[in-house]
Structure formats: C-alpha cells, structure tokens
Symmetry: C2
Subunit: 152 residues, 2 copies
Amino acid sequence: MDEIPGALGTSASLALRLGQSLFSVASLLFMCLDVAFYSYTSFCFLVTVMGLVISWSLTLAMVDAFSVFIKRPSRQPGIISVVVLGDWVLSFLSLAASCSTASASDLLIRSGSPFCDGNICSRYQLSAAMAFLSWFLSLASSLFNFWLLPNL
Amino acid sequence: MDEIPGALGTSASLALRLGQSLFSVASLLFMCLDVAFYSYTSFCFLVTVMGLVISWSLTLAMVDAFSVFIKRPSRQPGIISVVVLGDWVLSFLSLAASCSTASASDLLIRSGSPFCDGNICSRYQLSAAMAFLSWFLSLASSLFNFWLLPNL
C-alpha cells in the first residue's frame, strides 16, 4: 500500500504539489505584474483558477510535508476521494484557463492590438504555458491518488 | 458484468455515441458553413478536433449498434483500454478546443472586429457550446468504460 509513488503522503506527492504551486505562482505573476489583465474575461478566469490551484496545492503540500517529516497519518478512503475529486476538477479548470489564455493572447498578437505594446502579450503566452504545466502536474496527482483508491 | 449502463456494447452507450456525433456535427456546421474560419488558429483547432471526434464516435456507435441489435461480441480488456484511452484524450482535446474557441470569439465580439459583421461571431459561440456538450458526453463514455475495466 505504501509503494505507490505520488499518492497522498509520499515525498513524490510533496514534489508534485510544490511543482503545481510553483507553476501556478509563476503563471499568476506573469499575468498580473504590472499588466491590466482585467479587461479580458479569459485572463480573469486564469487568475481565479490559478488562485484556487495555489491554495489547494499549498494546503496539500503541508499535509504531505507533515506526513513525510513527522508522522504518517492514517489514510481514509473518504479523504482520498475528496482529494482525487478536487484535483480532477482543478485540472479541468486549469486546462480550460490555459487554453483560453493561449487563444486570446494569440489573437491579440495576430491582430496587432495596441494592448500588446512592449512585449506584454508574450508574457500572457508564458502565463498560459505555466498554467498548462500546472494542469499536467494536477492530472498526475489525481491519477496517482486514484490508483491508490481501490487498495484502501 | 452486463449491468453497467453506458459501457461499450449497451444501448446507453449507443445513445452517448450518437449524442457525441450529433453535437460534434452541429459544432462543425456552425463553424464551417459559409464562414472563413481558417484565419484563426483556435478555430482551425476546433475543426480538426471535431473531425476526429466525429469519426471516433461514429465508429464506436456502429460497434454498439452491432452489439445491441445483432449479437454481443466478447469484451476484451485490451479493446476496452484502447476505448477508454481514446475517449479520454479526445475529451481533453474537445475541452481545449471549446475553451479556445469561446475565448477567441468573445474577444472578437468585444473588440468590435469587422470580422464579426452580420452575427457571425455568435455562431462561433454556439459552435463552442456544442463542442463543450460533446466534451461532456465523451467524458461520460470514458468514465463508464473505465468503471467496467476492473471487472474484466
């Protein structure tokens, strides 16, 4: 039962959570720093979703750190189910936000919008790429925990 | 083993497949009919993905119809795995395409682009909504088949 790497409470899971938080923070910084992101719906959506992902991943990273460094708590099927469901929903939301942002920034760049002066739109693209990586790690977490579920 | 509705070879699965094909065809028609969709990347992406979903769903609808009306073939774990994986990948692609299209058409409408004359951009939005419904049905198919997998 303890051999599944990436399941809740292992060091691989801690690494995945830290990666998710890192990419989400990077995406949020690329999007928000010094940019008027709130004029477009999809950028606001990205900021909302990344905020959710950061709080979710940091909470679970704390649980993992506690479990790795101090003492392993008992795994209950109910808690694992909630974690799997939350990861799953957040991974869909991250994918949707990253695709909307990529599409909107591509459109803004191609139409030569005055909004894109001074390389700002390439920062939106970087932000979408970071959100995409965060989606990938969320999905991995969700799958590893889902794999654990039938063994409980 | 036969009680799971929506798994490959049942009438519920046939209904899901027909629904997917219907929504994908509707999305493709809203996007392509009389509209220069190929000027934007995300619209081309939607057309590609919907083409894939239509061929995949119609093929599996034929398998289901054969199984429902003529004779039930044996279910092999390998085949079900391929179906689950294909549904899963296609559902991610449909979600990505639908979000990109929704974001791009929203941006085009809000920027008052001359491309949107004559209510064309609301057709893009309808197309994105149809792709979203098709995503939902693909996901349902994938989950039902995945549920069947451990019983084989």
